[in-house]
């Protein structure tokens, strides 16, 4: 014992030195470590896709790109994709604005039900709408037969409708969040001064909402052009970039052409991401800072109310009916042919392992994502090192990058040693972590901006070292951001398809992929039943998580926004 003590003396002084060093430099060490993670799991996969797209059998080549622009087929897929993204974004924003306006400013009785309905699609896979549209408007759909409709669902129009319905909630969530924290006093003053409702919306509400709308638009556009479930199920022979990439990689092992399509898909996303950053510099906290203030329902002129109500109700009805028919289909033998009620689809347990895996992956992703997100937010706001804004940009870029591209990137980057991750469960979780990191980071950043640095300084003046300060002061204050990151990652990861579809392997299937496959093969009953099970389980998980966070004393509703 004495021996050990005498030995430990010189060590301890070294240890002390190390400790002081770590204590002083911890933020930088942490930043370096996090940056390394970002490079490996976000930048490296993208670079891998880029390299693949220019690497021919004999050195570098642009021949694959040449093929893209020469062949009408590929070029059409680009124009189709952009057109889809554009139409979709505009429609989603308009509908979401109407919905958000009514749920924050409209009659009280409408607020809650409209809100619940608009958020419903968030917990279902986006291609639920493709399934319901086939049931209703397919060549032998219920409505098609009932009204003798001649219009064909398969093609561009069908995809646009399905995608729009799928992404309304996303736009709604963000616009509603900004609208809620917008102080209604300004609008009320204008109203008292005699301005018309239309004028208020045009000159006050929308300009103040601009950052929120812009952000919602960016997110919807990127998600729309990258999410390929609806397009693959309803597209027929209409080419779109994302489903074509998927077919090329998964079906044909044509990695070169698949990579070219991916790179082309990234370009509009990057442009929009930078545009968004440029337009929003300096405007960021004008709307987020305010506390949500419930606004008194005031009289909305019929001139505004009727169109808003019409649009909102149409959207809400469409969402409700979609969920309804899918629920119905999961209990029907063969919907439309043999409408006998059966339990066989529900009792089909082939998908249970996949559902179990989905929950597991999403929970792991949520935990890691929330931790990394919180830490990143901390180093971005409090760190004082070169390249800070670069780290911020990279960590926020996750949601501007199409899921398909990240999925292919992971497949290319982590298929060979030393980073051999494919064929396991971690690659699925890590993929979700870095794709959905932005939300946790952003929630953390805005939380930290609200916390005065003086509290931390006071703590260290009183002799607490960095770890103690971080653990006792920063962490509790940032916990809501942690929870927001956790819940968002969990919810998004469990229903997302576009990236993980490239990474599933035998034994590590995911429910979202399983449902997509069933829908593509035409097994509507199984697809519907699995969707309903997944929705139910996500709901239970949400209630459970809500319960736990309440018990641990934090209110998640504080920061649900993206």
């Amino acid at each position: 014992m004495a021996r050990a003590e005498s030995l430990s003396v010189p060590q301890s002084s070294l240890w002390e030195k190390l400790k002081t060093f770590v204590n002083a430099e911890l933020v930088n060490i942490l930043a370096g470590f996090l940056f390394l993670l970002l490079v490996i799991f976000l930048l490296y996969p993208i670079v891998a896709v880029l390299i693949k797209s220019v690497k021919g059998p004999q050195g570098l080549t642009l021949s694959y790109y040449l093929k893209f622009f020469v062949k009408g087929y590929y070029f059409r897929s680009l124009t189709n994709t952009l057109l889809l993204g554009f139409i979709n974004t505009v429609v989603c924003l308009v509908v979401a604005f109407c919905l958000a306006y009514l749920t924050t400013r409209g009659p009280l009785s409408l607020r809650k039900p409209l809100k619940v309905v608009s958020m419903m699609p968030l917990i279902a896979p986006p291609y639920l709408f493709a399934i319901s549209l086939i049931i209703l408007f397919g060549h032998s759909g219920i409505m098609t037969k009932a009204f003798g409709i001649k219009w064909s669902l398969y093609g561009f129009n069908g995809v646009v409708i399905a995608q729009t319905l799928a992404f309304i909630p996303l736009a709604y969530l963000m616009i509603e969040n900004t609208l809620r924290s917008l102080n209604p006093n300004l609008e009320e003053s204008a109203y008292d001064l005699g301005a018309s409702e239309v004028r208020i919306i045009r000159t006050i509400t929308i300009p103040l909402l601009a950052p929120g709308i812009l952000k919602a638009g960016l997110l919807v556009f990127v998600m729309t052009i990258a999410e390929f479930g609806n397009a693959a199920i309803l597209g027929g022979r209409t080419p779109f970039l994302a489903p074509d990439t998927y077919t090329m990689i998964i079906g044909e092992a044509d990695f070169e052409m698949g990579s070219v399509l991916s790179v082309i898909l990234i370009i509009p996303c990057i442009i929009i991401f930078f545009l968004h950053n440029y337009l929003l510099t300096g405007k960021k906290f004008t709307t987020i800072g305010g506390k949500p203030v419930a606004s008194e329902p005031r009289k909305i002129t019929p001139f505004v109310k009727i169109p808003f109500l019409a649009i909102s109700c149409a959207a809400a009805m469409a969402i409700l009916v979609s969920f309804g028919v899918v629920l119905f289909a999961s209990f029907t033998k063969i919907l439309g042919i043999n409408n006998q009620l059966v339990l066989s689809h529900i009792k089909n347990f082939d998908s249970n392992l996949a559902i179990y895996n989905s929950i597991k992956v999403s929970l792991v992703a949520a935990l890691i994502g929330a931790i990394i997100g919180t830490l990143l937010a901390y180093v971005i706001v409090r760190g004082k090192f070169f390249g800070r804004s670069f780290i911020e940009m990279v960590s926020l870029s996750g949601f501007a990058l199409p899921g398909t591209v990240i999925g292919i990137g992971y497949l290319l980057a982590f298929n060979t040693p030393p980073f051999k991750l494919t064929g396991g469960i971690m690659i699925l979780a890590l993929n979700c972590v870095f794709r959905f990191l932005a939300v946790g980071v952003e929630a953390g950043i805005s939380k930290l901006h609200q916390i005065n640095i003086e509290i931390e300084e006071a703590s260290s003046d009183l002799g607490a070292n960095f770890m103690t300060t971080f653990y006792k002061i920063v962490l509790p204050l940032m916990f809501p951001a942690f929870v927001a990151g956790f819940i968002y990652t969990f919810m998004t990861a469990i229903v997302s398809l576009s990236a993980v579809v490239f990474l599933v392997s035998p034994g590590f299937e995911l429910a979202a992929v399983k449902i997509f496959d069933a829908a593509v093969y035409g097994e509507i009953g199984v697809a519907s039943a699995t969707t309903m099970k997944l929705v139910l389980i996500v709901m239970i998980c949400m209630v459970f998580l809500n319960f736990l966070t309440k018990k641990t004393g934090f209110d998640i509703s504080q920061k649900k926004g993206v």
């Binding site: 087929y73 398969y154 033998k333 064929g423 035409g522």
Partner: protein, 331 residues
């Protein structure tokens, strides 16, 4: 404060228990491409006879081929249990497969068991023409009797078939048409057929469901789910047109680098049994060991004369030609 901590610990413990809860039984990971439902049947058969759990993801033959090729040499599965001849032949040639002298496969013809025992053909499958009975009657049409009849403009946008790039069934259709009409005429036939095709599906079984539900009138499809769907009450009729049809195997082999070779070998043994052949024949497959066929009955099918080796060797070339011909202009 105490309550908070307690709940945080509960949460953490549940979480850790959940993450560590991986089942450790005798398992093998396999790429299987029969059909989603027939895959499950095979998995259940193996589980019942040997106690081995096969973890599988259903994929089309083309997708399995793409996956195996892209993963060389670090395969994410231990074996393949159901893929097309091109991948099986290539895996033997490139030594992605490891040979196994299975006692269960002795006495089986070289069509079903590789003489060098690299691959084992679980059974042959084939493609048929299906139609939606109700819709055809409604429109006063009948199921075509020959492949050529499909070129009639009245079927425009009413036919679905799988894509030969991703589906092994469609690859089989392609080499059958090329063998039937000769290469040049065969491509002309497919180009003419293309005008009537609504779209090409990923999987060879998808047309059965799409036609069964009445989304489309006719489908060229794998036979695999036809009987099952008719039994379930889908208004389907099927036929093999006068010119005959083609066939391909559903091949199984052990992938090099697996850590559970002995488990894979037991699975291969199970595939060689009479009982397995019996089960597959009940699903309509033509099996390595003779068994009564539930779909085709006693009448032997009329086959187009095929050389699977020739078809496998030409697959990459034909895939390029396919893309060249049918992916130039959007329809």
């Amino acid at each position: 404060m105490k309550g908070k901590f307690f709940w945080a610990v509960v949460m953490a413990m549940i979480f850790i228990a959940f993450i560590l809860s991986d089942v450790q039984a005798q398992t093998v990971r396999a790429y299987m491409g029969l059909s989603p439902e027939n895959n499950v049947k095979v998995v259940n058969f193996v589980k019942e006879k040997t106690g081995i759990t096969i973890l599988q993801t259903f994929q089309s033959f083309g997708e399995i081929e793409a996956k195996v090729k892209s993963e060389v040499p670090n395969f994410n599965a231990d074996m393949v249990g159901g893929c097309g001849s091109p991948l099986a032949f290539m895996s033997k040639k490139s030594k992605w497969a490891v040979p196994y002298n299975s006692p269960a496969w002795t006495g089986i013809s070289s069509e079903f068991a590789d003489p060098d025992r690299y691959w084992f053909n679980m059974s042959n499958f084939t493609f048929v023409l299906v139609g939606n009975k109700d819709k055809l009657r409604e429109m006063g049409l009948t199921l075509p009797k020959s492949w050529k009849e499909l070129l009639d403009p009245k079927w425009k946008d009413q036919i679905v078939m799988p894509s030969p790039l991703s589906s092994g069934t469609a690859n089989m259709m392609r080499y059958t048409f090329l063998a039937l009409y000769g290469e040049e005429e065969g491509w002309k036939y497919m180009a003419a057929l293309d005008k009537n095709i609504h779209h090409y599906t990923r999987s060879g079984n998808a047309p059965t469901d799409l036609v069964g539900r009445g989304e489309f009138l006719l489908g060229i499809t794998s036979h695999e789910n036809v009987k099952k769907r008719m039994d379930e009450g889908y208004p389907l009729i099927w036929s093999v047109p006068d010119e005959g049809t083609g066939y391909d195997g559903t091949f199984a082999f052990i992938l090099a680098g697996t850590k559970v070779t002995d488990v894979c070998q037991k699975v291969i043994d199970a595939f060689g049994t009479q009982e397995f052949s019996k089960m597959m024949a009940e699903l309509g497959y033509v099996t390595p060991r003779p068994a009564p066929n539930a779909l085709f009955g006693d009448n032997p099918l009329k086959y187009v004369k095929l050389d699977l080796g020739w078809a496998a060797d030409n697959r990459p070339k034909w895939n390029d030609m396919w893309k060249e011909k049918f992916r130039t202009e959007a329809k």
